[in-house]
């Protein structure tokens, strides 16, 4: 079997910019997304589909919240923590937000060091990102436990008000927490590959058998930033509304 042809992403070709560039890229009878490895283009398309899933969740939440005649529970009070005998509104959620943003920062730097072939720094930053992610999931477990065990919130009922609060809360934050958990697992896998120098030596990937490259770190980063991005919307429309 002949060796697979080297994939040129066309960096060396001068391509038109602006609207001419869009027309030229789409009508070129080649790969549409120039300068972008196929793995990255596919991750973007996956993230677009994931956007629609989260959109459906958040829109159904919006619809049930606007259409219920029973008062909606006040998230500011429900997610308050008593620190030093004083209730501080939403403090746990605020801490979770800052943790996720910090993990996005370390991830962005891991991508950067990856492209500089600084594999030790890149792997360490990815592990820091994974640790932030794991602590985020840990806090979510704490939050769920408090709501389920102490407050008696269920998907079909809760003591605060509209019953739809429970179902939308568990659905939305659960699906997001699941994304974070999967992200942590993949971060550890990619960090191990980076640490081992797979992408310096071009060691073939397990599933694809293609030459490993540092673009894998950036693709991982896209997923991780997306998880942070979704949290921005959940934080705004679920907790602050």
């Amino acid at each position: 079997m002949a060796p697979p042809a080297a994939t040129s992403t066309g960096e060396s070709l001068a391509r038109p910019e602006g609207w001419d560039g869009i027309v030229a890229d789409w009508s070129s009878d080649q790969r549409t997304f120039k300068n972008v490895p196929w793995g990255k283009a596919m991750m973007w398309i996956f993230l677009l589909s994931d956007t629609f899933i989260f959109t459906c969740f958040l829109l159904s939440y919006m619809t049930v919240r606007m259409s219920t005649t029973v008062p909606w529970p006040n998230p500011s009070e429900i997610f308050a923590l008593h620190i030093g005998g004083q209730p501080i509104p939403l403090i746990l959620i605020a801490i979770m937000t800052f943790i996720l943003i910090s993990s996005s920062g370390t991830m962005a730097m891991a991508v950067n060091f990856g492209y500089r072939h600084d594999r030790v720094k890149s792997a360490i930053l990815m592990l820091v990102t994974a640790a932030f992610g794991a602590s985020f999931v840990g806090m979510q477990v704490f939050e769920w436990t408090k709501l389920i065990v102490d407050d008696g919130v269920r998907p079909w009922t809760n003591p605060f008000g509209a019953a739809q609060f429970g179902s939308t809360f568990f659905m939305i934050t659960g699906f997001h927490g699941f994304h974070v958990s999967i992200g942590v697992i993949f971060l550890v896998i990619i960090a191990r590959k980076v640490w081992r120098g797979d992408y310096d030596r071009g060691r073939p990937g397990y599933f694809t058998s293609r030459k490993g490259k540092y673009e894998a770190v950036e693709i991982m980063g896209l997923y991780w930033h997306f998880v942070d991005l979704v949290w921005v919307f959940i934080f705004a429309v679920f907790y602050l509304w």
């Binding site: 997304f33 973007w44 629609f52 829109l59 705004a236």
Partner: protein, 106 residues
Amino acid sequence: MAHAEGQQHPISMYLKIWGLLFVLSTFSYLVDFYNVEGYLRWSLILLFMILKAGLIVAVFMHMMWERLALIYAILVPPVLVLVFVFLMTHEAGYTFVTRGVFFGGP
């Protein structure tokens, strides 16, 4: 670096964006902390949300350095979701009124 591999930008830029995201998150938390109400609350929450989302997509996800063909293919479809938001807002309003009429709610 004539032929730099992938996306390479100075680390200081990421740190600045990180700081900016922290500031914006603090602001949106303060909106709740100081109990800002009404339209002002909504405009502030949505403003900070859009700014944070924009910074993450543009800088952290490197969208601002991609070619327009990719930017439009990924960012235009979510904008169409606003049509869905518009539809569901009216649907929810109708359901609310109907419940009020038939169940004697508020």
